[in-house]
C-alpha cells in the first residue's frame, strides 16, 4: 500500500516535471537539431557546448542570487511575522484596512514598482547594489508573508496565548517563545516563496542592478540572448545549473514542514 503510493507519487512527479525534462533535453541539443521534426526525445548526439559556456561564465551569478535570495528571506520574515501575529491575534482597529491595502499592494505591476524604485534608488545611491536588490525583491514577498502568517496564526488556539500571558510574559515574549515556534510551517512556507521569488526575479534585477558588478543569475541568462541571436542550449543549461543548488535547498527546507505542530504545543 505504501509502496503503491510511492509509485503513484513518482508518476505524478514525472508528469509535473516533464517540461523540466524537456528543458534539460534542449540544453544538450545542438543548435541544428532544435527544431527537428519529429523532435528528438533524448539528446542522443547531444552537445556539452551549452554547459561549457555556462560553467565558464555563470558561477559568480549563482553566488549573488543565493545571497539575494537568503537576504530577501530574512528581511521578509523580520517584517511579516510580527505583522501577521498582530493581525491574527491582537486584531487592532484598522487591521482589516491594512490587510486590504496589502492585498492591493500586490496588484501594482512589477515594472511600475521598478520604475518607482529606480528614481528613489538613484537619489539614495543604492542603485546596482545587492542590498538595494534585496529590498526591492522583498516587496514581492512581504505582503504575501503577512497574509500567510495571518492565516496560519489565526489557527493557533487562543488558550496558548492566554496561558503565556498568565505566566506573566509580555506580548513580545509570547510572540517570540510561543507563537513563532508553533508557526514553523508558516515560516518555512513564507521563506520558500520569498526565496523563489527573489531567485527568479528579472524585472527588478534588470532595472535596478543592470549595471552592477554583482548580478543575479536571471541577468546572467541574458549573455545568451543577443539582439539577433539566442543560444538556447546555453540558456537552458544556465537554468539547469541554477536550479541544482536551489533544489537541494528546497528539499532540505521541505523536511522542516512538520505535522501537527500546534497539537504538540497544546499538549505540553
Amino acid at each position: 500500500m505504501r509502496r503503491a503510493k510511492t509509485v503513484l507519487g513518482l508518476i505524478f512527479t514525472a508528469i509535473m516535471l516533464f517540461p523540466v525534462y524537456w528543458m534539460i533535453n534542449v540544453s544538450f541539443t545542438r543548435d541544428t537539431d532544435m527544431r527537428a521534426d519529429p523532435p528528438h526525445l533524448f539528446p542522443l548526439d547531444g552537445t556539452l557546448e551549452g554547459y561549457r559556456a555556462v560553467l565558464d561564465q555563470q558561477l559568480p551569478y549563482l553566488g549573488t542570487s543565493l545571497i539575494v535570495g537568503l537576504g530577501t528571506v530574512a528581511l521578509t520574515l523580520a517584517l511579516s511575522a510580527p505583522a501577521g501575529f498582530a493581525l491574527a491575534k491582537l486584531r487592532p482597529k484598522g487591521g482589516g484596512v491594512l490587510s486590504f491595502v496589502l492585498l492591493i499592494a500586490q496588484m501594482i505591476p512589477g515594472i511600475i514598482m521598478a520604475m518607482g524604485f529606480y528614481a528613489i534608488y538613484l537619489r539614495l545611491g543604492v542603485l546596482n547594489t545587492v542590498g538595494g536588490l534585496i529590498l526591492a525583491d522583498s516587496t514581492i514577498a512581504v505582503p504575501f508573508g503577512v497574509l500567510i502568517f495571518t492565516a496560519f496564526m489565526s489557527g493557533i488556539p487562543d488558550e496558548l496565548i492566554h496561558a503565556a500571558m498568565i505566566d506573566g510574559a509580555t506580548t513580545w515574549r509570547t510572540f517570540v517563545s510561543v507563537i513563532l515556534p508553533v508557526s514553523r510551517n508558516a515560516i518555512v512556507t513564507v521563506s520558500l516563496f520569498a526565496f523563489l521569488w527573489a531567485w527568479s526575479d528579472f524585472v527588478f534585477a534588470t532595472t535596478l542592478d543592470g549595471g552592477g558588478d554583482a548580478q543575479p543569475i536571471t541577468l546572467g541568462i541574458y549573455h545568451y540572448i543577443g539582439n539577433n541571436n539566442q543560444q538556447w542550449n546555453a540558456i537552458m543549461a544556465t537554468a539547469v545549473i541554477a536550479s541544482i543548488p536551489a533544489t537541494l535547498l528546497l528539499i532540505l527546507a521541505q523536511r522542516y514542514v512538520a505535522a501537527g505542530v500546534t497539537a504538540g504545543a497544546v499538549k505540553d
Binding site: 509502496r3 510511492t6 507519487g9 505524478f12 512527479t13 509535473m16 516535471l17 517540461p19 523540466v20 528543458m23 534542449v26 519529429p38 517584517l79 498582530a86 491575534k89 491582537l90 486584531r91 487592532p92 482589516g96 491594512l98 490587510s99 486590504f100 496589502l102 492585498l103 499592494a105 500586490q106 501594482i108 505591476p109 515594472i111 511600475i112 514598482m113 518607482g116 524604485f117 512581504v142 504575501f144 497574509l147 500567510i148 489565526s154 489557527g155 493557533i156 488556539p157 487562543d158 506580548t171 510572540f175 510551517n185 516563496f193 541568462i221 538556447w232 540558456i235 537554468a239 541554477a242 536550479s243 533544489t247 527546507a253 521541505q254 512538520a258 505535522a259 501537527g260 500546534t262 497539537a263
Partner: protein, 323 residues
Amino acid sequence: MAHDVTTGVPASPSAPAGGGAGARAEGTPGRGRRGGHWTAWAFLAPIVIYLLAFYAYPLYRNLDLSLRHYTVRSFVQGDAPFSGFDNYRDVFADPAFGPALLHTLTFTVVSIAFQFAIGLALAVFFAQNFRLSATLRALFLVPWLLPLIVSASTWTWMLNSDSGIVNHALELIHVDPVNWLTSPDWALTSVIIANVWIGIPFNLVVLYSGLQAIPAEVHEAASIDGANGWQRFWRVTFPLLRPVSAITLLLGLVYTLKVFDLIWIMTKGGPADASITFATWSYRFSFGSLLPEFGPGAAVGNLLIVMALFFGLLYIRFQRRQA
C-alpha cells in the same frame, strides 16, 4: 471596509467565530483592549512604514501616469498635461477591451479552479507520508526555480505546431495536430495550461503546510467516530483548512490577474488578440512597441487593481455570510 480580510474565518470549530467587526473586538484574546490596540500597532509599525516607503510612490505614480497625456517626450521632461479620464475613455472604447476583459476572467477563473483542485488533491496525497514523499514534494517546486523566460519558452517549444513534442505525441495516437499557440481557438487554452502548471506548486505547498498545521487529534477523534477517509476530509479537514484555503485562493487570484510575462513569451497576447488579458494589454501599451504609451498602459493596470478590489470585497461578503 474595516473588516478584516483574512482573519474573519473561524479558526477551528471551537474558536469564537470572528464575524462582524464588533463581535471581533470582543472575541479577541482580550486583556485591556486599549493597551492591546497599541501593542498591536507597535507590531505593525515596521510593515506600515515599509508600505508607505515602498508602495505609496509607485501606486501614486501609476495613478498619475493614467491621468495624464504622456508622450515619450513628456515622459522624459515630466511635463505631461493633465487629461482627466481620457486614457480610461480610450481604453474602454478600444476594440480590444471586450476580448481582454473576457479573457482575463476566463484565464483567472479557469486557472485558479484547476490549480487549487490539483494542488489540494496533491497536498492530501502527500500528507500521507510515504517513502520519498518529502523529496517528491520538494521536487514539485522545481518549476518555480526556473526563470519564467525559461519555463515559458520550454512550453512554447513543447506546444510548437510543427516540431513540438505535444503534437508529436498526438500524432502517435492518431489525433490531428493542434495549432496550440497559433490558432485563435487554442491560444488561450494553451496559456492556461502552462499557467496551471506553474501555479500547482504554490497551491500544493501552502495547502500542505496548512494541512500539517491541523492538530492530529482532530483526525484521531474523527476516526474513532467511525468516519471514513472521504467523510473525514470533507467534514473535518476541509473546514479546518478554510482560513488557509481562502487565502490561497485570494492570493492565487491576485497573482493570476497580473500574469503577463508567461502570456507575453508564449503568444504575445495573439494571434489577433485571442489570448490577450488586461495585464498583457497593459504591458503591450507601455512596452510592447517601439513607442511606449504609458498613459493607457497605466489605466489598464489600474483597472486590474479595481478588479482585485472587487474580488476582495466579494470575498469579504462571502465570509460574512459564512460566519
